[in-house]
Symmetry: none
Subunit: 207 residues, 4 copies
DNA sequence: AATGAATGAGCATTCATTCAT
DNA sequence: GATGAATGAATGCTCATTCAT
């Protein structure tokens, strides 16, 4: 999903064939890379344009403003994680199983699209997020809390306030990802190793 | 609103004596508030000046550049946590005890200076941090890893790579703080409640 | 007020065609006028922009910095004199003739573009000149010294160190131009009158 | 007359002894050096203060503004040359003699105080000169023109407009000084050598 | 007199956005 | 749709000047 260079004659395409890389996508990719590297606020539209191999003006044909672009990038990737979670987490399963599914989805995503995960979780977005983006975050919270609450009912999960448990577990995941990024810890299999530990944090203590 | 040197106990004053709150401190305070609210990159020097109740030019008598100001704010608060940790964590104690001390220091700090903790932990600082700031972070890592390693030797702490355990535990703390900030969870006592859970994540699983 | 590339004959245009006076040229002209009037250091980019009838930002599409603009102005005009000199001074001719040609080129230039000559010769440029600009000055010195040296070999020119003779003669020319500017002396024909006097300064004294 | 450093405790003096270097003089010296090096417009009051070893505020006790300081520096040195000229040029003497006296005064001055001469003659001063300064320049012009006119009456000096002759001769002197400064020509004895040449420029051509 | 912190207008430069081509 | 020159408000920073000490 990382791009870098595009054809120098942006816009060329074979008759009838669908565009392999539309301007819109090129911009979205370039923006993600740039925002992750230097922050939304630290990135200029010109930098995004150059990285995408398009003219500044062209960005504005697809996104009405920088704010809208920031939002679109957020939306694009957040939607992807949320939909993965919704598709792959079995809400009927025991908490231990559902937790494992959830953890696996996050691990896969953070490993396959490290920039995207870093952008979503290691930055402040208040400046440009709109209602839809916020709602998306909410959808994921709801699922996770549901898993936790049902786990608590089943005696699997400790009795602590679910929002706190979620904050602890998600924070732990993000913490590992950050350490990975800063090179303070080794490759991605660590997420797997971490799963057991985090589950021990969540599960009901043995009596 | 007077002159130059920092005074670590801001606010103390002898009756009738000139205010200890120097311009430098006012700027440091205003910058922390502004950076926390709108990001380093999203804050203008004019906003800092206005918030501090001084003229723009006055900031530059105390900090040679915006970058230096960002660094000074980071340094000021990071030093404070690190020194608290160094003072209050007993490296000779059993891991459970040392962990508890560490958790307490962080809780106290994050509760007493929520903006400072948010600035330190919820933002990207690469843009302006200098070597001294980075070294400070390192000092805290060393302590935490030491506690974990000695806990592992004593069989108290699970055998996972210490850097990962640290990332998990610190991430969990930061996660709770973030939830507190976004209003997704209630008051600070939750940190206390969370401690037991996080310890269960760290400790060696019962056989 | 259109686009980009310089056109050496500023002002030429086909009837009905878009004006050849590009933004770049307008800026170059405005900068020359302003720098001549109030010095490079005493001129703000805003003043240049206003004089050129463009927005401040537009200057920066054509010149990366004020320094680069100063240099470009210098280069533009210095290149012009130097090329005129190189084209019109016959290095094979007797010194008296070559001197006359040189004097005529300078006179024509200083009369046709008084601001340009004043900018080039009545100001301090060290602050912003680059290597190319310095090299240009050198080219002219080489020609003049060559004329003088060959004149000395032919017994036409006095035996004084050529660099000193050049400094005297060029200084005399600049002196007259300055007096003209300050209104201390009348119209440009004076340069013609001065030529004979300056030659008497240069030529070998009759025995 | 060049200064550089002053005692760090500016103002200290033995009781009763007159100040060796008053603040006023230190500032005047520092300003000359700075203005010569980096132009009036390119010099900040802070730079002058530092060079003079005094506080910025102290400059304002002696000069009401930067403009006034620039003017004072100009006045200080211009007065000096003009007075030297008035004292040492014998208006009753033959033109050749008076010219020689004049040339000698200038040479002595430019050699003894190279920064002062460069400041006076290689820069644009319109920005800050007042009437008195302008009048001073005038006094010197009057003398020189007088010498030339009387030389013309006596058949010693060529019949060219005196203002032009003056411009040529003074320009030649300034030209040599400039070459000396830029290192394009060797030591100051050259002024002496140049005198004869310049006189040949001024004198009536042999029939 | 001397000091230097404080002021705020002004400067060079950047950048989101527009629009003629 | 795409381009990139043009715009001008906003930014980080400087600097002449003031004034409490």
């Amino acid at each position: 999903m990382r791009h870098g260079e595009r054809e120098s004659s942006a816009g060329r395409r074979d008759a009838g064939a669908p565009p392999v890389t539309s301007t819109r996508e090129a911009v979205l990719d370039a923006a993600l890379a740039a925002f992750t590297e230097r922050t939304y606020g630290g990135t200029s539209m010109a930098q995004v344009a150059e990285r995408a191999g398009v003219a500044v003006g062209s960005i504005y044909r697809h996104f009405p403003s920088k704010e809208a672009l920031g939002n679109a990038v957020y939306l694009h990737w957040k939607r992807r994680v949320v939909e993965d979670v919704e598709r792959e987490v079995d809400l009927g399963a025991p908490a231990r199983v559902a937790f494992s599914q959830l953890w696996r989805v996050l691990t896969r995503f953070a490993t396959a699209y490290p920039d995207a995960f870093a952008f979503l979780e290691h930055q402040q977005h208040e400046e440009y997020l709109d209602g839809e983006s916020r709602a998306l975050s909410e959808r994921m919270t709801v699922i996770a809390v549901d898993v936790l609450v049902r786990g608590q009912r089943a005696g699997e999960v400790r009795a602590t306030e679910p929002a706190v448990l979620l904050a602890l577990a998600y924070g732990a995941f993000v913490g590992v990802d950050k350490a990975l990024r800063t090179g303070q810890a080794a490759p991605a299999e660590l997420f797997v190793e971490a799963e057991a530990a985090v589950w021990d944090m969540l599960r009901a203590p043995s009596p």
